[in-house]
């Protein structure tokens, strides 16, 4: 396979000025990441700072209703509230070993921005975050958290004023600042080597799941299910199971409001092949190659592209990709609150929604794991508004 590719997907479509820093990251991945010292330091951060390992929680009430055993991988319990911290601690530590003094990152919902700001503060790095101007408004409390953690947050007013434009601006900033700064990319997309780098740092959640399943049941799950925006929590869950053909890998994209032709965030299901943000993947685009706006009630899934490894797993059929719409996700959100006392992020609610909407797709009496990638505290305003729960 060509370097940086997953089948036909992936690659490194960036300005020449970004090739030297990307080659530097690739070299650091090969030379620094495998060392015992780096591993030990990262493991300690993940354990004593971020709160790993996270539980694999059995859901007795939902399992009874569904007719199979449902377990949740509890990434919502991590420091800063989502799986994002697995990747930001890894990249921040790598940046430090590379001799960088600063991080730059994009953020959509703000979760990656908060996780980057926390990792930067912990490891003594400067931090600059680019965030779409509309997202700054939608996710004001996360902007506040980032600033409290010492990050400079720049609203991006160009284009659709959301995540994709924040990535454009972060890439531009990185061209200028590459000597001192590492680009802490937030999802398993972007130019090579980011899809591989982010997968490596997120795989810890799938590895734990595998071990915990074996310990609890003596067997592997029939299916693992995860929401897919850029796809970092899903690839982290899928990667350790890829060579276990008996384990179904189920990704869930956001279908948006759900009517035919609506804006959505489901490029694997509804998009076409193209190049955006440095990689060849599935995109929401016009026939002449302009990127279309995406939509999801979940800001963390609101992106018109998807990581290239998911495009590959989709093309080969090793993973299957369904969809859940805004209303189904909001329903799953409430169901989990009521039945199990867990308040999930709207991103993770999409994964759960797929299971609730399609219980027949899973074997009766079987074992299903849903990756609960984040907690829903950040979504209170959106949920209150969407459900018209003004009295909450």
């Amino acid at each position: 396979m060509k370097k940086g590719y997953f089948g036909d997907f992936g690659g490194c479509f960036v300005p020449e000025l970004l090739m030297p820093p990307l080659l530097e990251v690739e070299e650091a991945m090969q030379k620094i990441m495998p060392t015992a010292q780096f591993r030990a330091e990262l493991d300690d951060l993940l354990h004593s700072y971020a709160g790993r390992e996270t539980p694999l929680t059995l859901c007795p009430n939902l399992s009874q209703k569904l007719g199979f055993t449902l377990r949740l991988k509890r990434e919502d319990l991590l420091h800063t509230g989502a799986h994002k911290i697995n990747n930001t601690l890894g990249q921040a530590l790598l940046a430090k070993y590379m001799g960088k003094s600063a991080l730059v990152a994009e953020t959509g919902a703000g979760q990656h921005g908060v996780a980057t700001a926390a990792a930067a503060a912990r490891l003594g790095l400067q931090c600059t975050i680019f965030m779409g101007a509309d997202d700054v408004t939608r996710q004001a409390s996360n902007v506040c958290r980032m600033r409290l953690l010492g990050a400079k947050v720049h609203p991006v007013h160009s284009g659709t004023r959301t995540l994709k434009d924040a990535i454009n601006e972060a890439l531009r900033f990185w061209i200028r600042s590459q000597e001192s700064t590492h680009y802490c990319f937030g999802t398993a997309a972007g130019p090579h080597p980011f899809p591989t780098l982010v997968r490596e740092f997120q795989s810890v959640l799938g590895q734990e799941t595998r071990k915990q399943m074996l310990a609890a049941t003596g067997r592997l799950p029939d299916a693992v299910v995860a929401a897919v925006g850029g796809g970092s929590n899903a690839i982290g869950m899928f990667a350790p199971f890829i060579h276990d053909p008996e384990v179904r890998l189920v990704g869930v994209e956001a279908a948006g409001t759900g009517e035919a032709g609506c804006y959505n965030s489901a490029p694997l299901n509804l998009g076409t092949d193209g190049v955006l943000h440095g990689n060849f993947t599935k995109l929401l685009q016009t026939a002449d190659g302009q990127i279309e706006p995406s939509h999801s009630v979940s800001a963390g899934l609101d992106y018109p592209g998807v990581g290239p490894e998911h495009a590959y797993l989709h093309a080969t059929g090793r993973a299957e990709y369904g969809m859940a719409n805004d209303a189904q996700a909001l329903n799953a959100f409430q169901v989990l609150c009521h039945t199990e006392g867990i308040l999930p992020a709207l991103e993770s609610s999409h994964a759960l929604a797929y299971v609730l909407e399609h219980p027949q797709a899973f074997p009766a009496g079987g074992e299903v794991v849903v990756n609960l990638s984040g907690r829903g505290d950040k979504d209170m305003d959106i949920v209150r508004h969407a459900l018209s729960l003004e009295d909450l």
Binding site: V14, P15, L17, P20, P21, R172, G274, Q285, G289
Partner: protein, 253 residues
Amino acid sequence: MHSLEQKIRATQSRFALIPYITAGFPTRATFWQQVEELDAHGADIIEIGVPFSDPVADGPVVEDAARRALAEGMSLELLLSELGARKHSLRAGLVLMGYMNPFLQYGLERFARDAAAAGVQGCIVPDLPYEEAEEFRLALRAQGIALITLVGQNTSEERMRLYATVSEGYVYVVSVMGTTGGKGSLPAAAAETLARARKVFTVPLALGFGLEKTSQVAALPVLPDAVVFGSALLRHIDAGNSAASFMQNFVNN
């Protein structure tokens, strides 16, 4: 020798002038008039920007021009058909500058055929580094179109040597560590980059990104063969001035 290299070599003792203008800017109705003025007032090569929704190598001026052109309905398909209708009317060499995805959706081989038929001699694709370029380069070369190499301050001599094996037409030397349209004086490193590129490449060197007048360039200890100016021209036109007056001021500088 490629026709674009000939255009630059023909200027001999002066800098070849390469204005950049986004297709459909400032409006679709007045775009071609701008191109004709550039052609009539000393442009040796004209770079026409193919608008894209997510131009990561561009600063706010070019990005805004692209956004407006797209809102006016400009597309690669439309540009090629309008170009074809004017094929023999331009004196200057013709280069399209655009991001990979619109070319990819058009179809690389189909694009190369249609672009050659419309008189296009070169393409600049800012998000297509050496490692990803082979397929497009070969498709273009089969039609006589040069894929223009871009290098910058952080392009090592070793990487330049990679590019040198495949470079045609001219090499675009990016003057700053940044995006298009920065303002102010040229960094000293621009001259170092030119010197390194001069050692490695046999084709002419064009300097661009953030240039506002030729006097900025004339002060450099190492000189390029051509200068590219984009954002400054777009700002000038957007303020209600003519492309012709920009060329006159720029040349007189």
